[in-house]
Subunit: 189 residues, 2 copies
């Protein structure tokens, strides 16, 4: 499998209970489709010695960046996280990979459009132009903020979404697997 | 001013009323401190012809990416946006610049820590370990998700925050100016 395309598994999945085991399941699904999944929990092949003196959060962040830099693509869990948008760490990683010029794939266990999630989250009328702070509600018919859409579409990636019942949002892997299959179709051809 | 360091002005400021005029005010503050501010509304010096055929959102996103690529640094408005974290588009742009290896500066008109904003937003007890979905509450004592902290600290940037009354969150420019001064001290030396 050493020549399999390497895909970094971005997402708030690291916040789930037993996240290492969960990420191993994702890696197994990647392997099934000919891809080599990289978990944020994976150690680096070699790590600069001085990193061990850094605070935990700094080491984790640098390791994630190194994993992305060494990957051929990112597959990101864009399921909305404590608000209308994806997890901030995940969005950072998408932007990071986008700047490296490699494909970003995304998936989510809801298919509700960004505008609808935004107005609903803020408690606005569905047609409201602005929120109570006077800030415009983005209305481009996209799944999340337009930069995320450009990071995916512009990089040759794909977005896979499906509307699942709320109680399955963080326990489903079928939508992820469909995204892995799309990524494999692109990366293995 | 053509040799002034170029700083891309990232933030949900583009969603404010009269955003072009607001961004011009930010550019004027940059100029006052020897920096050349780049607004997301600025035209590119030259733009690929085929971009004009793209949907609005795609053209906007590619233009933002080109502005960042041509900038020496980013100054990002990290004021929490419709949830505990910064605006997703802004976070994408921070990740993008971080991958390019140039400094990212951030500021916010609140100084409340991320953990406190998160538990308060989700309606959790301040000491809650997990949210109702079972997802861990990040507790690193940082201002936002750890990737944002690494994007700033790791790139040699700085974070400037100040707790302002809610009604001043989106109308204040003093915190931004303090951040510009920090960026100028770094970029002009």
């Amino acid at each position: 499998m050493s020549s399999a395309p390497r895909v970094y598994l971005a997402g708030p999945d690291v916040f789930l209970p037993a996240p290492e085991a969960w990420l191993e399941r994702k890696k197994a699904i990647c392997a099934l489709h000919g891809l080599s999944g990289i978990s944020p929990f994976d150690p680096l092949a070699e790590e600069p010695v001085h990193w061990s003196a850094l605070p935990d959060w700094h080491g984790i962040g640098l390791r994630n960046e190194a994993h992305i830099t060494g990957a051929d693509a990112v597959i990101a869990n864009l399921t909305p996280f404590r608000g209308p948008s994806a997890d901030a760490g995940t969005v950072f990683e998408i932007g990071f990979m986008r700047a490296l010029g490699r494909p970003v794939f995304g998936y989510a266990t809801t298919a509700r459009p960004f505008t609808e999630r935004t107005t609903s989250h803020v408690g606005l009328h569905a047609a409201a132009e602005r929120d109570p702070d006077g800030l415009l509600v983005e209305r481009f018919g996209l799944f999340d903020n337009l930069m995320i859409a450009v990071g995916i579409t512009g990089s040759g990636g794909e977005l896979v979404t499906e509307e699942l019942p709320p109680e399955q949002r963080w326990s489903d892997l079928a939508v992820f697997e469909r995204c892995v299959m799309r990524a494999a179709a692109k990366l293995l051809r």
